[in-house]
Symmetry: C2
Subunit: 193 residues, 2 copies
């Protein structure tokens, strides 16, 4: 069997590995999930895994890459819906809320990963940092377009509120946190209460 490739060009085995790992890492934690579990769930052999990834940590980074790509995709799709900055901010806040409510009920993948990787210069922490920088920067650009008087500060507040929403949604239940999140996010974004 030569390189069985998927439509996107990457190997199907690699995709199965990343998909299985993403699911397990998010649901159970990273150190708690062994390579055996992952290859078992992916229906792939050990050798295949090590053919595609130098080691487990690279798979962790691939998992975070997927999460990162998902959010970027959501932002892009929102950008195709409307060009009005205020409306876009509304969509983003709604989208974030919906994401916590349905997809990310076990907290933020990046925050959770960082909890398990204390060393700031590890590949995992670098990926976390890059994701957060992108997120903050994107919000700031959005707020700038919406004419926010201090987009840098407002973006920081939105990041703050979003972190809290993911943590609180996981530990306290989303229904308990939702009103506070929506209220605080709209206020930070400069939207009508």
């Amino acid at each position: 069997m030569a390189t069985r490739t998927t439509s996107a060009g990457t190997s199907v085995a690699r995709e199965k590995l990343v998909a299985a790992a993403s699911d397990l890492f998010y649901r159970e934690g990273i150190h708690a999930v062994g390579v055996d579990r992952i290859i078992g769930e992916a229906g792939v052999t050990r050798a295949t895994f090590y053919r595609h990834f130098p080691g487990k940590e690279d798979l962790v980074e691939a998992y975070l890459d997927v999460e990162d790509a998902n959010i970027r995709g959501a932002f892009e799709r929102a950008g195709e819906v409307t060009d009005d900055p205020d409306q876009l901010l509304e969509l983003v806040i709604e989208g974030l809320a919906d994401d916590v409510a349905r997809l990310h009920t076990r907290g933020c993948p990046f925050i959770n990963a960082a909890a398990e990787y204390p060393e700031a210069d590890s590949g995992v922490r670098v990926a976390v940092g890059e994701h957060r920088d992108w997120f903050r920067g994107t919000l700031e650009a959005l707020l700038t377009a919406a004419g926010n008087p201090d987009p840098a500060i407002a973006a920081g507040q939105l990041v703050l509120v979003r972190d809290a929403a993911m943590v609180g949604g996981y530990l306290d239940g989303w229904e308990r946190v939702r009103p506070a999140f929506v209220d605080a996010a709209r206020r930070a974004a400069g939207l009508a209460a």
Copy 2:
């Protein structure tokens, strides 16, 4: 050597174990630290460890108990300084900020622990839940005493903001998060900006 007890009544070996474990668990993560490391750092033997704790997870709970006790102690000490509710709120917000800046630079012990313990009915997660309930309840009582119009909602907002401060302080740097935290916390508490 019989029960060498400390002033508080508990064995000195037990206290050394909890102290070493607290330090290691917080700095490096829980699953990442083995029993060997802990007993080595505590200068205590394996048998002594298992004499005091049924297993590793009980040590994790003891670690969270210490963190819980520390914060409760800080609240009590603040309560002895002043009786004025507004002034007390000021002290609490200041104290939380100071705590993130100096002591908890690796995030929130409870949030980090929860990231590693997905099962909601595990002892660790129960301890996390109890701590959060106490924290929210205490804030609500404080806000009620301060005459806040909706203390339950305000307490929820303060919890939210505090979670975000600990996460952001760890991942983005405290100096970057501090202004947003203080601003949001004071607003939620109903204090003058």
